[in-house]
Amino acid sequence: MEYGTIYLILAGVFGLFMAWGIGANDVANAMATSVGARVLTIRRAVLIAAVFEFSGAVLAGGEVTSTIRSGIIDVEVVAGDPQLLVLGMLAALLAAGVWLLIASRMGWPVSTTHSIVGAIIGFGIAGLGWHVVHWSNVGTIAASWVVSPLLSGTVAYLLFRSVQWLILDRPDPLKSAKRFVPLYIFLAGFIMSLMTMLKGLKHVGLEISAAEAYGWSAIIGLVLMLIGKAFISRVPYDPAADREFHYANVERVFAILMVVTACSMAFAHGSNDVANAVGPMAAIISVVQSGGQISAQSPLPSWVLLLGAVGIVIGLVTLGQRVIATVGREITQLTPSRGFACELAAAGTVVFASGLGLPISTTHSLVGAVLGVGMARGIAALNLNVVRTIFMSWIVTLPIGGVLAIVFFWILKGIF
């Protein structure tokens, strides 16, 4: 294909740029609660995030990447002029990356997912035609954007209410905490493993039956629970701390649980957001490598996921550290007993969506979860104005992503 190598290089550069931005920006939401609650040092948070973002991206990021690669735009319709698809995807990557940069600088809420989906739809309509877009898929995706914060909020509400009932409301909360927190650790490990395995690790080449998935998940959950129990019994409980604030020691038990949920959140984020960088890249690569032939069925090259994962890790290790520190300082209200409920609910929702191949906003799911805990009267003060702004930001992000993509598309068409 003419310019094939240049396209590949550009795809790599833009894709890595986007992945870097995703790592720098969003990872803070997964790890900042742990850093803010002094459960993890920044170094450990970054290390954990790196490991789990990478795993999430590689092990569970395949479905969403497929959706972004070929689920939004009907690639076979473009078969007559494959160059258009390549240029369009390049434009989409560039548009989403640039918008991410601008919005982060200005402090506006930005969802990487909304940016890339808006960009792809944008160039699809302008460059290829209305009919090229898979409107039913887009409808499903849009619906998932509404459902995911609601689901996450409901789960977080129920989780926190269970914590109140089992632990916080009891006369001896510390004893109850030591007894029940290991069960929550089991739950976290079990659910995360189960959802990852049930949807199949087929993009990694592993076929697991449903029964095996349940079995392995239970084992992973049990192992985590035993490790967690060991850590819980090792924590020094200072009775003096309880005089200041009766629940200080209870929170220390929850802190162990919060490490597990932080890992889950990083894994979930990697699984859903890697596609935002790598999906367009995969589309370009498969078109160029097949010499201009496009097929929606062609398998996803797994090294593409690896590349995205590496990009995210670089982003989080460079700029991400500072964002984690800043955010961690400001969210001290999310004590471990709340933080874990929010993170587990959000992580579960996101991994569930990843399994279905639906690109959703991890930030919105986390905000939904926070609202859920707030409804259970668990948080001292939530600014609903900011919540509204965050949720409304997609109204701005979608068209801007689309317009930027169209602009870059015409520029690239002019160059090539």
Partner: protein, 224 residues
């Protein structure tokens, strides 16, 4: 780089509320050395203590203003915003009343009849005790947020409030006895002084009443 996610968390209003109540208790507690100084006829000390009370009441006022500014109605709080502001207002009234009592005593260079001195000191002690109980209840606010206003913590607060009720009832009885004692001395004292003495007894009792009202506000919050 501003983080939008972090911006959804506002500072907790509970800590400032607790700090305000601590300041109010500190202010009201100064009345005890004040009454002792009156018993000693040491009006210089009375003036000094009145100054301290006025200053503490000022500090409480600025804490109150800060907290009010911190509570726009776009916040999602675990309690009704109006309940919180009402609680703050009643707390503030305690400090105001303490300042009024101190001011009146100083202004009229009041004397307490020697035969009433001991009963009066005990009465004042009990009224401040009521305020102390109220402060202990308010102190549990951040624990209440921790448990989401449920469970064993609510039981604990109810117990404190029940004790508060008992203390307030006690002060009512003591007030009746004090007024009776004053009535028997009425004819021997200047009538204007006697009227103002009745006023001081009434205002001191108001401290306990206000403390009980703080308790009621808290109970309302727990009941919702």
């Amino acid at each position: 780089m501003k983080s939008y996610f972090a911006a959804i968390f506002r500072g907790s209003p509970m800590k400032p509320l607790q700090e305000h109540m601590e300041k109010v208790l500190e202010c009201a507690s100064e009345l005890l050395p004040l009454f002792k100084a009156v018993g000693r006829r040491d009006y210089e000390a009375v003036a000094q203590i009145q100054q301290r009370i006025a200053q503490l009441e000022d500090e409480a006022d600025s804490l109150k203003t800060d907290l009010r500014l911190q509570l726009p109605n776009t916040l999602l709080l675990p309690v009704d915003r109006r309940d919180l502001l009402e609680l703050l207002r009643v707390q503030d009234n305690v400090a105001n009343k303490a300042k009024d009592i101190a001011g009146l005593i100083l202004g009229r260079q009041m004397e307490i009849p020697a035969s009433m001195q001991e009963a009066f000191d005990a009465y004042a002690e009990r009224c401040i005790d009521a305020v102390r109980h109220a402060q202990r209840a308010v102190q549990e606010m951040d624990e209440l947020v921790e448990t989401g206003f449920r469970g064993a913590e609510v039981e604990l607060v109810h117990n404190i409030l029940r004790d508060l009720g008992a203390v307030e009832k006690d002060t009512d009885h003591m007030q009746i006895k004090l007024r009776a004692a004053l009535r028997s001395l009425e004819s021997q004292l200047p009538p204007v002084d006697v009227m103002f003495l009745y006023k001081i007894i009434e205002w001191t009792g108001d401290l306990a009443d206000l403390a009980e009202r703080i308790g009621s506000r808290l109970q309302l919050m727990l009941a919702k």
